[in-house]
C-alpha cells in the first residue's frame, strides 16, 4: 500500500502546501457549482424549500466514505494513517449547536463564506470578518472555557468502535440512511413547491 502518499514520504511539506492549494481549488469549485456561494440557497435548507445542503453534504460524505472504505479494504490505502480528529463529545455537541445557529443567522459557514466572498457577496464578507471576531473572542476568553473545552475526551473514536459493529455494516447503514434522506428530501421539496403554487 502506498497511500496516503504524504504519510509514506512521497513528498515533503512544501509540496504538501501546493497540494493543499490544488485541493482547495477543487473544494471551492464544487461548493460554488452546488450554489453554496449564495446564502439564500444555503438557508433554504432550513425552510424546506431547497434541501441541497443536505443532498450535497451527504452525497459527498457517502462518496468519500465509500472511496476510503474500498481503497482500504483493497490494501491500496492504509486507513490507520489517515488523521482522525479526537472526539470531545460535550464541547463538540455544543459547538455544533452554536455553529448551526450561526449558520441560519449568518447564512454561510466558514468554507462557503470564502466562496461567497470570491463571488462578490458582501454579506459573506461581513460574516467572514465576524468569524475572526468570534475566534478572537473565544481565544481571549479561553481560560474561562478551557475546562469545558477539554471535557469528555474520548480519543480517536469511530462509529464502528462506538457501536461495536463491523465497519462495512456502518458503511451500508450510512448509505441507506442517505438514500432514504434523499428520497425524503425530494418528496418534501415537491410538496413545498406544490404548496407555493396553491397559495
Amino acid at each position: 500500500m502506498m497511500a496516503p502518499f504524504f504519510k509514506f514520504g512521497l513528498f515533503g511539506d512544501n509540496i504538501g502546501l501546493v497540494v493543499a492549494f490544488g485541493i482547495g481549488i477543487g473544494f471551492g469549485f464544487f461548493l460554488e457549482r452546488a450554489g453554496f456561494g449564495n446564502a439564500r440557497k444555503l438557508a433554504a435548507q432550513f425552510y424546506f424549500t431547497d434541501l441541497r445542503v443536505f443532498k450535497v453534504m451527504f452525497t459527498a460524505i457517502v462518496t468519500a466514505m465509500l472511496g476510503v472504505y474500498y481503497l482500504s479494504v483493497l490494501g491500496v490505502m492504509d486507513l490507520s494513517l489517515v488523521y482522525l480528529t479526537p472526539t470531545f463529545l460535550a464541547p463538540q455537541m455544543v459547538g455544533g449547536l452554536i455553529l448551526g445557529m450561526g449558520f441560519v443567522v449568518g447564512g454561510y459557514c466558514p468554507g462557503t463564506a470564502c466562496v461567497g466572498v470570491a463571488t462578490g457577496r458582501i454579506d459573506a464578507l461581513v460574516l467572514f470578518l465576524g468569524i475572526f471576531v468570534g475566534i478572537f473572542a473565544f481565544s481571549e476568553l479561553f481560560p474561562l472555557v478551557s475546562s469545558f473545552y477539554n471535557a469528555t475526551p474520548m480519543g480517536q473514536l469511530t462509529l464502528p468502535q462506538v457501536t461495536r459493529l463491523p465497519y462495512g455494516l456502518i458503511v451500508f447503514a450510512v448509505v441507506l440512511m442517505a438514500l432514504g434522506g434523499f428520497a425524503g428530501a425530494e418528496w418534501i421539496e415537491k410538496r413545498m413547491a406544490a404548496r407555493t403554487v396553491e397559495s
Partner: protein, 173 residues
C-alpha cells in the same frame, strides 16, 4: 454590467460526488481531510503574533497555531482556503455568477442583513472552536471517516439551525 444571465446550479448530487472526490483525493494524497476554520485561527494567530507575541505564546488557544521556525501562515489549511477562494471564483466566473451583491430575503433591509451576517459569523467562530472544526472539517471530513465526534457535531449543527430557523424567517423568506 453583467449581461450574461447566471447559469443554473448543478444537480446537487453531481456536485456532491465532485466534492466527495475532492475529499477522497485529500485522504489519498495527504492522509487528512478538508477544513476551513483552522485557517482563520492561523491567520489571527499570525497577525497577533507580530504585535503581541508573548500574549500569543501564553494563550493555548492561539499558541497551538504557532509553528516552530516559521509563520503560522505556512499552514496546510491556509493554503487550502486560498485555493477555495480561487476555485469558487473560477466556478463563479464560468457560470456568470460573480456579482457584487447582498444575498437576503425580500422582507429585510440590507443593513439588518449585514448585522445578522456579522453575528452569524461570530457564532460560527465560537462554534467552530468548541467543535474542533466546521462543516468542512468536521461534518464532511469526519463524516466520511465515521468519526463519532464529527457525527455528533453534524447532527447538532442541523438541530441548532432548524431550532433558530423560525426566528430568522424574516431574513430569508
Amino acid at each position: 454590467m453583467e449581461t450574461r444571465p447566471a447559469q443554473p446550479y448543478w444537480n446537487p448530487y453531481v456536485a456532491g460526488v465532485g466534492l466527495g472526490l475532492v475529499l477522497l483525493a485529500s485522504f489519498v494524497v495527504m492522509g487528512r481531510g478538508l477544513g476551513a476554520s483552522g485557517a482563520f485561527a492561523s491567520t489571527i494567530t499570525a497577525g497577533l503574533n507580530t504585535v503581541a507575541p508573548s500574549h500569543v505564546a501564553g494563550n493555548p488557544a492561539f499558541a497551538e497555531y504557532l509553528k516552530e521556525g516559521t509563520s503560522p501562515l505556512k499552514d496546510w489549511l491556509v493554503f487550502e482556503v486560498l485555493g477555495v477562494f480561487v476555485g469558487g471564483y473560477l466556478s463563479g466566473m464560468l457560470a456568470h455568477r460573480v456579482t457584487r451583491t447582498v444575498e437576503k430575503g425580500p422582507n429585510i433591509s440590507t443593513k439588518r442583513r449585514l448585522v445578522f451576517a456579522f453575528i452569524g459569523g461570530v457564532l460560527m467562530g465560537v462554534g467552530a472552536k468548541f467543535g474542533r472544526g466546521c462543516t468542512s472539517g468536521q461534518a464532511l471530513t469526519g463524516g466520511a471517516l465515521l468519526n463519532a465526534g464529527s457525527w455528533a457535531f453534524m447532527i447538532m449543527v442541523f438541530a441548532g439551525a432548524y431550532a433558530l430557523a423560525y426566528f430568522m424567517r424574516r431574513q430569508w423568506t
